[in-house]
């Protein structure tokens, strides 16, 4: 079974999946992501229960971007079912405490997952203080209220 097939098969069962990619740096540069081991990048949205997470994948290089992924599985606390009508996620990339880049807000009403990337080079020449704050929102059908939560990646080193 291919990876994409596995994904399609699993999505009807997996109640929620939010992913933030920590990306960036030049094509010739490498983002050291091994420091993310043991950290929590994303947690469940309001009204959901955490049920499982995957391990960090080994970093993979796609063109100019180095990515590391971690998946979180969440279900509605009461029914185990999806409850949102809209999911959104965005990231803000920092160099230390200084804001460097803000991703678009990625939203979906039709998918059980949504992801976003930041690609800005925040420190030409390298820094060991590059990190991303991820903001995750979910809203119910018929409600204008968006429940938001935050997660923070560890600092990584760009070279």
């Amino acid at each position: 079974m291919s990876m994409s097939t596995m994904r399609r098969t699993s999505l009807p069962l997996a109640a929620g999946l939010l992913v933030v990619l920590l990306t960036g740096c030049k094509s010739s540069q490498k983002v050291v992501v091994d420091s993310v081991d043991g950290s929590s990048w994303i947690k469940c949205a309001m009204g959901q229960s955490y049920v499982n997470e995957s391990s960090d994948d080994d970093p993979a290089q796609y063109g100019a971007v180095t990515e590391a992924w971690r998946d979180y599985y969440c279900v509605n606390q009461d029914t185990g079912a999806l409850w949102w009508s809209r999911l959104e996620v965005y990231g803000r990339k920092y160099n230390g405490n200084v804001l460097c880049d803000t991703s678009p807000v990625a939203w979906t009403s039709s998918s059980r997952s949504v992801s976003v990337q930041t690609r800005e080079v925040c420190a030409s020449g390298g820094s060991n203080q590059i990190w991303v704050a991820g903001y995750h929102g979910a809203s119910r059908n018929g409600s204008s209220t968006i429940r938001r939560a935050t997660s923070v990646t560890p600092e990584v080193t760009s070279q």
């Binding site: 997996a14 949205a45 229960s49 704050a133």
Partner: protein, 163 residues
Amino acid sequence: MSRRRTNIAAGVVIVGIAAGGALAASAQEDRHEGDVAAAPSAEDLTAAQLEAIEAVRSDAPIPVQDVSGDVRGYVRDSALTARDERVTEQMVQGFRERHGSVDEEYDELYEALRILDPVPVVDDTGATVGYWTHNFKELSELEALTPDARATVDRLLLDQAGE
């Protein structure tokens, strides 16, 4: 990659069990109550991260850098968030969702809408020294980008909505 498959398969199995109500309680014991995506605990964060998060929480001025890495001024979270909510609402009204992990057209359109609704970056005196779209833009730079941004919005949002 095989490890990822194993992990996903395990996740799906566990989600299935939890959907039946068997695992949710035990899972919660290992996590904070409700798993409402609480902010990371302070001991996991560096001083710079704590400072940045506190600036967002208190809506204090957030220092921003230009492409050279120089600090150029400040923005507030309330202004950034309000602007992005306006832009996102335009995307929602246009039924323009982001598809997949790479959707360059979505990103191009989103940035064009932000160029047309920029957040002022101010210095210590409150004077506007530039604008924030997805990053810092010089005053003259933003002016130069505006016509193309309008054309992008026409092409990717308004024209498609009229089709």
